[in-house]
Subunit: 375 residues, 2 copies
Amino acid sequence: MASLSVSRHNQLFWAPVAGRPRARPRASRIRMSLQESGPSIAVVGVTGAVGQEFLSVLADRDFPYRSIKMLASKRSAGRRITFEDREYEVEELTADSFDGVDIGLFSAGGSISKQFGPVAVERGTVVVDNSSAFRMDEKVPLVIPEVNPEAMLNIKAGFGKGALIANPNCSTIICLMAATPLHRRAKVLRMVVSTYQAASGAGAAAMEELQLQTREVLEGKPPTCKIFNRQYAFNLFSHNASILSNGYNEEEMKMVKETRKIWNDKDVKVTATCIRVPVMRAHAESVNLQFERPLDEDTARDILKNAPGIVVIDDRESNHFPTPLEVSNKDDVAVGRIRQDLSQDGNQGLDIFVCGDQIRKGAALNAIQIAEMLL
Amino acid sequence: MASLSVSRHNQLFWAPVAGRPRARPRASRIRMSLQESGPSIAVVGVTGAVGQEFLSVLADRDFPYRSIKMLASKRSAGRRITFEDREYEVEELTADSFDGVDIGLFSAGGSISKQFGPVAVERGTVVVDNSSAFRMDEKVPLVIPEVNPEAMLNIKAGFGKGALIANPNCSTIICLMAATPLHRRAKVLRMVVSTYQAASGAGAAAMEELQLQTREVLEGKPPTCKIFNRQYAFNLFSHNASILSNGYNEEEMKMVKETRKIWNDKDVKVTATCIRVPVMRAHAESVNLQFERPLDEDTARDILKNAPGIVVIDDRESNHFPTPLEVSNKDDVAVGRIRQDLSQDGNQGLDIFVCGDQIRKGAALNAIQIAEMLL
């Protein structure tokens, strides 16, 4: 691993511990001046679940901006959005939307990214793309700021020129936030991951369908199945991504391939089973790790306690460990159930359980941390 | 592995494929004569979730009996239960309850089993115990009829004398139903299991609390937390069993230890992470297998298709795999997502996803299959 250029005390990555109210890092009057000189930004897909979270995270972190454009499909154009006490009109996304835009935060699906990402880059915009469109493109850095900030150093140095930066898949981000600090110490050879993924990963409509279905089932009515072709309420199912010829679904293969790229380690072995559970907006993951070198659980716990963006919840006595509900709307990824894996010899294995807000650190927050690194 | 003395075509284990209506294996007029000469049975904990399921399975399988006693705590004594067109009064469980009882089906918790199991054995009853009280006792066979029927041959041969037989933990049963046929072919060296466990494992009151909480949360009210000390609706959490000094919880250690005993293989390596999910009555498990010998996924699928008590649901094209809802109230354990594990070399690894009804095959059905083997 390349050494990190950002420490956990860097304000850029300082996120409050889950449970505490969020601190505002900069006073508003300082912010006014930053705003005047800040970048011009555009939010693409602003009406979606992640788009809305982009705005929430920008406000929470007092992200400096000179101007902000709210972009979406023709269908949503004309809608009004109030953001930081100003009203904006949602504009239709077109090739001309990016004139004069420094940073484009994209979360409108892979096909929109493929169509408009290169257009924006041509006009000088740095696109931070939350879709999977460019993640495995060799020329595009795939970045978790706490994990591999070095991957985007060239783009940071040349800020002002157009470029693409990809935001990893939510499950990958949440897993690697916890696995990377341990990987740096003892080198992960193999990871076996089983996910417990929230409705939010399939968008706001999926979250609404889960609620609607749950009401219906409790009333003894047949559940409405529009987003997913099955009952989701009080049920769970293999992730709805397409199944590839090797039997893995696309979500699982993202975890396999993105881990290799982010860790710059083509030999790391990863398998994943991705399951959708009836939870609203935070993912959980059961992660079994096999290391090259011994790593005892106490050392692992200490490493994680000192890792940026991580909160350790590992109270065996009161049976208190991370839950999706506890990390919902929080920045930090929570880790617990940290224990030596009995099925591996020589202290070379650990089991951990990880929860993270899928919309926040799994998408919007990570993208905005990337944008912050550009400034 | 010792060779199996029961084939899948043995009526004893023949369970209908999930989705099809259950066949009644024996005509009722034949049954009348069996009843006259059948055993005297007692159901201990008859008012609980598993106790009720004992009755349902006995009826579904036309289990022959000469008489049946409905036993429970003093609190439930006097309640009336209608079973197979006859009304019974629930009797208080006492030491004298077992006089003349051939088979005792116990599911009233570990302390009741510890107190009354040996008493029943002394009076000549064969106790099939669903609690964890005697599972790891060397003298007590721990039996999944499709997996290790040979473990109870001595008790079968001496039927009429009192004895204890333990029913394994629900998660162990569901996992080993799928893993054993593959283990017989290629020998499992290591298993990494992550569970998605239903409310039913914590009893009928937990299922009710999940429903109540869900209604409350949908109405914007704070959830009632009596059984679990946290919100369960739209959430998940590490299994509520006590945490041991090695950081595993008791549920996880049951999977580790019971697998070794059932497979009679003290070297098999198992790790498990047990998670409670907001699902009513069927468990799911993501199981990663490492084999001594190569086993390709097509062979594995064929083996599972021919395994007793297993239904393969593995339709990649329509993204149809096992779900807890689909196996609820069903006898068979469903297996899908059968694929070669990319993180292991030489075709020596597989990932599978398993679902089984926790109350049925995970408890009542397995116990009654054991009782059937005695006859």
